[in-house]
Symmetry: C2
Subunit: 244 residues, 2 copies
Amino acid sequence: MPHLPNTSVPAEDFDDFRKMTLLSMEEICRDIFKENQHRIKIKKEAVAVRNLVNIFHTTLQISNEKGFQTMSLRDLSRVSGLSMGALYSYFSSKDELLEMIQNQGRRITLKILSQRINAGDAPSVQLQTAIRTHLYLTEVLQPWFYFSYMEAKNLKKTHRKKAIESDLVTEEIIREILEKGAEKGEFKVDHPMLTAAVTKAMLQDWYLKRWKYSGRKIPVQAYADFIIEFVEALVLRKSSESSR
Amino acid sequence: MPHLPNTSVPAEDFDDFRKMTLLSMEEICRDIFKENQHRIKIKKEAVAVRNLVNIFHTTLQISNEKGFQTMSLRDLSRVSGLSMGALYSYFSSKDELLEMIQNQGRRITLKILSQRINAGDAPSVQLQTAIRTHLYLTEVLQPWFYFSYMEAKNLKKTHRKKAIESDLVTEEIIREILEKGAEKGEFKVDHPMLTAAVTKAMLQDWYLKRWKYSGRKIPVQAYADFIIEFVEALVLRKSSESSR
DNA sequence: GTCTATAGTGCGATAGAC
DNA sequence: GTCTATCGCACTATAGAC
């Protein structure tokens, strides 16, 4: 890999991010268990969490290979080692399993993004933070995000609408940062909506085509640096050279 | 919509593109018929083409709503008005139907792109042509491209490999233009591979999220202008102002 | 060339033993 | 809390009438 540009912002490392956000599979499954305790038949937390980790991990693994619809619950049973009966102690239908996974990914995104973007920062800093946080988050939970994107159309109407709205929220966050930056004279943004939309597209490419970037040995930090450079090349044109 | 920038290159209109490429559903289905004549039981071209148009149109319509796997052949039969028996005169399995659609989309992309990019043009012109052609093509055949992207993982191993390779070809075309431009001093490109990859991502967003752009009343020409502006902001930095 | 009827398979979901 | 056995159903694919 050639040298990639430094930013003027604290380039917090990916490993720090991973540690600070504590986004282990187990943490997430514990959350899911607590929220769905009323419909999950198993009452012992330790047992339930262990099996949920297994179920979600296996579901993501098989579905990201051949699709959620193509995966039969018999596949899930065989690979996870849990019987059909045991599986149905954790969800009441295949659709419900899909919704549980989708819901959780969505909630995490919003939580982490709003947690880490500091409203007091300059827009140029916020922009870098938003890009970097989104990429690091989707790197940690890549199978989860890939699944959410590809299987959204298998959701029932109501849940599908929620998924679309959630997708738009991230874009809105970026657009607002761009517009604030334009107001303050830090950015020159002719088309905030389009700029935000395609920035989101570049962020999503990281988890949609991860096999490509893995094969080319591009680490997520390098990708983040590049996307920031790319977006800044557009919004900092004919503006002052300093980025804050 | 606010005013969008003009380019220094002949901004051929989208309607011209549509007329010149003659990419009607019927033309494409006639091609498919001729190539698959050996396995299609129906021998009268007029009848076969009419039904193929119906079959592909209906397949794309249902699949892009709820997924190819979820669409049963009974669904396809009901919506298209053809019986199960009739359907099986045109393909020998559901998988073969999937492969026919995927193959054709792939072949068209390569044909149109290489047909329209003129090797004699300056890299800056070639870049604009590549972006504009890709967007116009995917605009005309949006359901086809969306389907190809979302259903690629349902292909059997061999055909899946082909789909991945084909995806990389477009990216390679862009990368080569960028590198040629850098050699000639027209562009400043630090990371040709990454630049090509994320440019591709922005092009794909047009057909993957078309509902979004439709809702916002963004015409494809405006999107093309914007993407060209965005990419040029990166590769023409600190370079001469003229774009050719 | 198109239809209806049906064979054969594998699915999601559940009941009841342990 | 987990398992096996099984029900009823919807699916892909085909055979044979017209």
